[in-house]
């Protein structure tokens, strides 16, 4: 089965949003947000779009079939590019 990676935890931490707040905003149980963040549950297209809309980003920014680059690596790359 294909893995679906996501950056929900990163966006949530960056915006200071709790799992409960996000869960209430997109209409799911807060445990479901935990399962999503751990990659234990793949969301429906509807839920994925709701989460993306909540953070105001495109779905591709949040979900990917390939692992996302870690924040440390992205910072390192940005620093090296400067």
């Amino acid at each position: 089965m294909t893995n679906l990676y996501n950056r929900i935890a990163l966006f949530r931490a960056e915006r200071g949003v709790s799992r409960r707040d996000l869960a209430e905003a997109v209409g799911v149980n807060n445990q479901t947000i935990g399962y999503l963040e751990r990659g234990d549950y793949k969301p429906s297209l509807e839920l994925a779009m709701k989460i993306a809309a909540y953070f105001g980003v495109s779905i591709e920014m949040l979900f990917s079939f390939k692992p996302f680059e870690s924040v440390a690596d992205a910072l390192r790359r940005a620093a090296a590019g400067e």
Binding site: N30, Q31, G34, Y35, S44
Partner: protein, 167 residues
């Protein structure tokens, strides 16, 4: 502070509110199932000789197992909407798969049971024969059907993180 506020505060203080949170129950249902099976064996054994102690222990085990099954249904993974709200898409998916597996398990058990009944006389082994044997079997199956979806749903979903409910 109103009476309801005081009751809420007491529930939080006594940690009673945490009992209502859904959690996977992976092993506890086996204990209730064992109690129900043991109660059936005690209630139908004795070959027609009524023994009060056996009946009392059997009924106690049956009631204990059934009450535990009903409680686990409430405390385990959510399988129906409750005061926490309707089921979300993940819970609906778990509920559908748990119900399907539970139905499949009970159907296969009934099928195996039919073959067992058919050949029990031939092999001269015990089979339910009196009306009470059948009533107790029906009651045991009723409790098992209540317990199976909780047990299966608990194994279908990964264990939640410790901090999920604390946020």
């Amino acid at each position: 502070m109103t009476l309801l506020d005081r009751i809420d505060r007491f529930c939080r203080w006594a940690v009673l509110d945490r009992l209502k949170r859904s959690r996977p129950l992976r092993w506890q249902p086996f204990i209730a199932l064992a109690a129900i099976i043991a109660s059936y064996i005690l209630l139908v054994s004795g070959e027609g000789h009524f023994a009060p102690w056996r009946f009392a222990v059997g009924i106690t085990l049956y009631v204990g197992g059934s009450v535990a099954a009903a409680l686990m249904r409430q405390m385990g993974p959510r399988l129906s909407p409750n005061q926490a709200g309707p089921l979300d898409e993940r819970e609906l998916s778990i509920q559908a798969r748990a119900s399907a597996w539970s139905g499949r398990t009970l159907s296969v058990s009934a099928m195996v049971g039919c073959f067992y009944m058919a050949y029990a006389d031939w092999f001269q082994i015990w089979r339910p024969s009196t009306p009470l044997d059948w009533v107790f079997l029906g009651m045991a199956l009723q409790s098992a059907s209540m317990l199976l979806p909780t047990l299966i749903a608990s194994w279908l979903q990964p264990l939640p993180e410790a901090d999920i409910d604390e946020e």
